[in-house]
């Protein structure tokens, strides 16, 4: 097991290098010169060739690519991503503050998604083909076809126009979490629900269930075993839920004016504020890689067969 973990962790190193390289390459991948992008981002009215060259020199873009990459990496390792082209603020402060907000929202969402999908799928499996099961399934079917932001808008409309009870934008106390978490949960839970339900239905026909039943183990205990075994198959999906939510939450953050990383990045895209985008790609990429490996390790821990691969 330790050998497996070590092997997976060693894989992380080249992945980190590739992610950082791509994040850094972004500014050179653009067709216009970095100096021009900076000047445009700062809203300089008249951009001349000399001005571009001056800016290139000022920001160090006249150095060769490799030199700049290593300088950038050295700084990035100390969490210094330079300054925003637009506001001249420290990118690391901006991105870490907003990342913290996104993380809080995401963890809350992940918890509700797990509670919601597990309980509903258990209900559905044990009332299979009964009325309740059919209602829940068709509801989930439609939710899977509904974009999460539409659910967000409908919630805003419901709670601000009809009930006028919950805050619909910004951050604050507990009540500010309710609507964005609800929109995210409703938007994404159907995927987990379908997966869990299918894996439980597969488990119901496994031999161990027949064995328990024939040896007189109580139904309650059997159900417990089935749930436990089906959750194991869902572990990978659940552990990838957090990074996937962080990467996919930009729309919900924009609707509810949540000061998270997705909203920061979308604003940076409109301003062509490349240091923020670079830091965003690096952070999300690393987060994704780490969780990917974490999911693999958890899987291998549950299922020893995978360790040999």
């Amino acid at each position: 097991m330790y050998k497996y973990i070590l092997k997976r962790l060693l894989f992380l190193l080249p992945m980190m290098i590739i992610v950082s390289f791509i994040a850094f390459y972004l500014i050179d991948a653009s067709s216009s010169s970095p100096g021009r992008i900076i000047l445009e981002a700062q809203g300089v009215p008249e951009i001349t060739q000399t001005l571009i060259e001056e800016t290139n020199h000022k920001y160090g873009f006249d150095e060769p690519f490799v030199v700049r990459y290593f300088l950038w990496m050295k700084k990035a390792a100390q969490l210094d991503f330079g300054k925003s082209f637009v506001s001249n603020e420290n990118v690391s402060t901006l991105i870490l503050t907003s990342f913290f907000y996104t993380l809080k929202l995401t963890i809350a969402t992940a918890v509700t998604i797990i509670l919601f999908s597990v309980s509903l799928s258990v209900v559905c499996v044990f009332l299979k083909n009964k009325f309740v099961d059919k209602i829940i399934r068709s509801g989930m079917f439609f939710l899977a076809a509904t974009p999460p932001y539409l659910i967000g808008i409908i919630l805003i409309w419901l709670f601000s126009v009809k009930f006028n009870s919950l805050p619909t934008s910004g951050v604050g106390d507990f009540s500010h979490y309710i609507l964005p978490v609800l929109a995210n949960t409703i938007g994404y839970a159907s995927f987990f629900f379908r997966m869990l339900r299918n894996s439980m239905l597969e488990n119901i026909h496994e031999n161990y269930v027949y064995f328990y039943r024939s040896s007189g183990v109580s139904e309650k205990k059997i159900i417990k075993h089935i749930i436990k075994n089906s959750l194991q198959t869902a572990v990978t999906a659940f552990s990838m839920a957090i990074p996937a939510l962080i990467a996919g939450t930009a729309v919900i953050e924009n609707i509810f004016a949540w000061p998270g990383i997705g909203r920061l990045c979308v604003a940076a895209i409109f301003n062509r504020d490349i240091p923020i985008i670079q830091a965003y790609v690096l952070l999300i990429g690393l987060f994704y890689c780490v969780f990917n490996i974490l999911a693999d390790i958890i899987n291998a821990w549950i299922n020893p067969k995978l360790r040999e691969a």
Partner: protein, 278 residues
């Protein structure tokens, strides 16, 4: 084709397939079908409700909602379907080459896939919008670039299932070329698998693209797109919630159709009946 024959027996599949094909046809001939100019501003008719000339009413600039909905089919649905076909196509070429020949090239291709797959596609689409500029084309190209490895891996696994069959060995023994075996045996065998996966995944792509357009990163005004129309409707949701109805029902309808179609295709392709039928 066998799959299509079996699919035609599933009644649940015919209706959604029919709706999707109809919507695509309306989208292709949008200019001839739309009752009005989708971009013609008419402030006197701001938020007007349905009338004979404007069957779905008018939006915040008094533009004809029905015409905008019809013009929006192209970016919201047709381009997404084409993106899916391109992604699956590239994945198919790579997957078949890697799976059938199983040489060093296979190793290299699979490692490239692993690397590309370790990037979250939503985040990378955002990044590419920041670098190459905002626009539908950038988004779709990035999605093709990031998603083909996923299909390549699945198709490779499917090819592995068939490449060691006796009939393939037989064809080799009697001297057929690899190319002929691939086109007459391997590809026809994996098409059901591909069709099922593609139909089941196109929903997430439609929803993702409409989400980006909702943020204003996709197609640019004044062109219409369902996600963008929703974002315009969102601004006035407190006063005119009815503006949400048309674009949201279009997205939900198309996605529900694809979901039904995907399920039906899966049932038609799956010889071992799925668990629900026990």
């Amino acid at each position: 084709m066998n799959l299509l024959k079996r699919l035609s027996k599933e009644r649940l599949a015919i209706i959604p397939l029919f709706i999707i094909v109809m919507v695509v046809i309306i989208g292709v001939f949008g200019q001839n079908i739309a009752p009005n100019d989708p971009n013609k501003v008419n402030m006197a008719l701001k938020y007007a409700s349905a009338s004979q000339i404007f069957p779905l009413g008018n939006d915040y600039l008094g533009r004809c909602i029905l015409s905008r909905m019809i013009y929006a089919i192209k970016p919201s649905l047709i381009y997404v379907i084409l993106t899916m076909i391109a992604t699956v196509g590239i994945g198919c070429i790579v997957g078949v080459i890697a799976g059938y020949f199983q040489n060093t090239l296979d190793e290299i291709l699979m490692r490239i896939c692993d690397i590309l797959l370790s990037f979250p596609s939503e985040a990378m689409v955002l990044a590419s919008a920041g670098i190459f500029g905002i626009g539908l084309k950038t988004m779709l190209m990035t999605i093709i670039f990031l998603r083909w490895p996923w299909y390549a891996k699945i198709i490779r696994t499917a090819v592995l299932k068939y490449r060691n069959k006796n009939y393939v060995y037989y064809m080799k023994a009697i001297g057929h070329t690899d190319l002929r075996i691939i086109f007459t045996q391997i590809i026809p065998s994996i098409i059901p698998d591909i069709a099922v996966i593609a139909t089941n995944n196109i929903n997430s792509l439609i929803l993702m693209m409409s989400g980006f357009s909702f943020l204003g990163l996709g197609i640019q005004a004044p062109s219409a797109e369902w996600g963008m129309m929703l974002s315009e409707a969102k601004k006035v949701v407190l006063t005119h919630p009815e503006q949400l109805i048309a674009p949201s029902s279009a997205i939900v309808l198309i996605c529900v159709c694809f979901a039904f179609l995907g399920d039906a295709l899966r049932d038609a392709a799956d010889v071992r009946r799925n668990v629900d039928d026990f």
